[in-house]
Symmetry: C2
Subunit: 564 residues, 2 copies
Amino acid sequence: MRTLFRNGRIVNVFTDTVQKTNVLIEGGRIIGVGAYTEEDADRVEDIGGKVICPGLIDGHIHIESTMLSPAEFVRACLPHGTTTVIADPHEIANVSGLYGIGYMIEVSRKLPMSVYYTVPSCVPATEFDESGGVLNAQDIAVLFSDPHVIGLGEMMNFPGVIAGVPAVTDKINAAHGAGKLINGHAPMITGKDLDRYIAAGIFDDHECSTMAEATERLNKGQWIMIRQGTAARNLDALLPLFEEPVSRRCLLVTDDKHPADLLYNGHIDSIIRQAVQKGAPVLTAVRMATLQAAQRFGLSDLGAIAPGYQADFLILDELETMKVRDVYRHGEKVVDDGRITDFEDPQVRPDIWKAVRNSVMLRKQDRTMFHIEPGHGPCRVIQVIPDQLITRERRIELDFSRNNGVNTENDIIKLAVIERHVDSGHIGLGYINGLGIRKGAIASSVSHDSHNLIVAGVSDEDMAVAANHIREIGGGLAVVRDGEVLADMPLPIAGLMGLGNASEIAEQNRKVREAAAELGSAPGIEPFMNLAFVSLPVIPDIKMTTQGLVDVNAWKRVPLFVNR
Amino acid sequence: MRTLFRNGRIVNVFTDTVQKTNVLIEGGRIIGVGAYTEEDADRVEDIGGKVICPGLIDGHIHIESTMLSPAEFVRACLPHGTTTVIADPHEIANVSGLYGIGYMIEVSRKLPMSVYYTVPSCVPATEFDESGGVLNAQDIAVLFSDPHVIGLGEMMNFPGVIAGVPAVTDKINAAHGAGKLINGHAPMITGKDLDRYIAAGIFDDHECSTMAEATERLNKGQWIMIRQGTAARNLDALLPLFEEPVSRRCLLVTDDKHPADLLYNGHIDSIIRQAVQKGAPVLTAVRMATLQAAQRFGLSDLGAIAPGYQADFLILDELETMKVRDVYRHGEKVVDDGRITDFEDPQVRPDIWKAVRNSVMLRKQDRTMFHIEPGHGPCRVIQVIPDQLITRERRIELDFSRNNGVNTENDIIKLAVIERHVDSGHIGLGYINGLGIRKGAIASSVSHDSHNLIVAGVSDEDMAVAANHIREIGGGLAVVRDGEVLADMPLPIAGLMGLGNASEIAEQNRKVREAAAELGSAPGIEPFMNLAFVSLPVIPDIKMTTQGLVDVNAWKRVPLFVNR
């Protein structure tokens, strides 16, 4: 069946123009742009002078960070005009390995969005991590045979690339051998180190936070992904990239988006809107978010309104505000006046579903497991810093005569990271300062990048209750006080994603954060957010893992008691 | 071994700038651009402020048209700075089929130039052609497995694409299935027909001769290959393409280059030079000929001076004149101060070599084979037009009482096209007007696209001598007068390419053309050039094939005598 979209104003990303014309669609593709009439079509839609814009492409996102299943992610993003994403399933890979990636790919196949994947390059993230998944070069090579797998995911192990570590080089060579591209991630690296990194064939970067970084990378041939997500926001710093001639080497990406932000502020449409408000030409911003993203990823029939292109496009009242009225994907209307046309939830193969649904493997915890054997002299206490992911090491002499060293007056509470993938019983125990929590305990299975179970609390009893609740709900977030669960947020998909829709997930998230705030929290501290990065030993200075503290700067494990 | 190129001025095609800096090379790749010193390298070359430019890329050429073997083609082009070509072996495929393509690919593998191939899409070119090779969709699919095969060659059968002829669609689908691109060729096609053609996934065109054609194609997403070859020269008409923003969608190509033109005027360097002389910004022209050509063909590590890129680059005294001093390919110096570093001729597998060297399969000809049985009434005579490839049909009552209808006073001589691939004995006989030849005969195995043996002459005797001489030398060009060969040009590789180097081939070509001129030739007529297109039934109005005349406009065979 042929459908004619008449009287549109087409955004032409080849020539940076808006052209009054008509578009003819058949079989999910655009087959003509020009002087077509009703005689050429079986159906006619009169666009009435509205704008037809190519569907938007997010060049780099971790779907897991939205806490939404892929289907719910699509339901949340489509009304914002996103028709293609390139997703890196790094989080679920660290929990469920090949099964986790398999889950993401499998459920995405039939969704009304083109979801391409990169294979996570760093699973586990470091040698200190006890993750649920391990991906070596052979695993990666196998995944490359899937047509929806488009490349090797962000290569965060830049020291490994620069030093030529064989396990890293093997993965890079696997990508080159399969003709797949490699995404970059090398913040702050410059000069000769950057050259070595890029020379491995890593031709993009989404970690630029200054024009100096971006300019060096542009000059050295990298595509620049301008990132504007929920936490990391680089648009302001990178506004000059919207100028010529460099704009042609840039894309727009979100990296990480939280559910409420996605729902209420938008996705790539929101980046375009913000860029335009800050003075960027709208046609440049749209070109970055469409044709150029497609070019970077070799998707030769995406990102434009032209014959032979996939019929993925948006109807907008006006271009500058990017207010999306309708969305078409493969020529089908998937959003009608802002409302999504519902679709069936994808079936998941039982073996995959079991693997990702039963991701929390953990014996029942009791209070004794959180007991710390008193020692002598100062302890290494992790200090969290408002509005930052880095931590500091404080050396404090603790009073073990009461509450096993916990001292809420000095804002020092207990911290545990419990291995939750094979129930090894490994537990890292210590103290954390700065969260502000004065009662109860909080627990979460979202703790980068291994996503073990992280618990912080005032009483060992409440810590055990919180941990056991996460165990009960199969992963998620929980807030406990006096043995009672005040709020929880079940994330039964790998302990990372919920089963509800975006507004339900956003609401649950709001409630657990409110409950955590009731336990007390310091200004600038988001307890779950800060905790989520307290176990990631790639961010300085000191982190807690399942086997205890890691001094990130010295790159080694260190004991809790300084003098031991 | 690491080599440092110090004190260069680097052409940066990402940012349209020239930057004073240093380049570090290792293992055939660029590994660094920046503040490197001798301490970083095993060897240092001081460039002394000269320009380092990425190696040039010809996005579309038929190597056979140069009459040079691939090795000699490379020897001729490298000094002009060409380090990569995308070649369409359409001519040899029509003579030797898969063996012909196999020959081109095999001999190119070890040459000091990156030679990529597209699989010819139209072999034979029409149903009227008796060619030496036939390529169907299955053959094409097999060829796609070769890593040097980059796409499906120019799809000249635009009526077939537009009408959806299954044999054509099968080839297009084979390309899509293998993830290969498709080159276009659809001159004059516009509007809905053009949309249908492009919608098949044909995303470039090298046949634009007006800005109107180019603009429509740009708007519809095609890459525009600006063609400036020996015969077809579109640069003047397409100069506005060097402006922004459209320049980013354009490439430079030659399509067909004759040996003398290549040798004395240059290759892609010459197009850049001409463009600059006509007012185009040199950085734009260089970007078209480097990064953008690589982008169109998905060659992600070609076309720039940047880390991770293949170390293919030129040293120029100055950019604007494109005078190439040195050429590096894979980091090796292959041209030193204009002189090529010689390399061994590639080995050819005996079966392939035999197939392409014995391409002329033809019984010995005698004068009786050229006799035309007299008939009654007017004959259809092919009239050649000065400076054009089209022909006209003239209807002339011939006098068969003398010399079998030939009449040099009216410039009417005999024309024969003899099937030379399987010696079927098929011969098309008739008359040609306008060549100007008054004595003897000329013969050639270069006759598009089937490359049968074409002979034009005044006496049947000389025509037989000329045909037999081509048979003797295994293909080529010959000029005969009074039973003697005045000049010849052996083209023993498929009857299309010689064994000598570019200056030898150019000199032989000059001599046969001089000898043909001695037989008499009309102003604006190049007898061998015109003859080469007299048997190509895709160019109007009337052509001669191995089975007689074809009325191109009516798309059918027609008899010599109008009333028969």
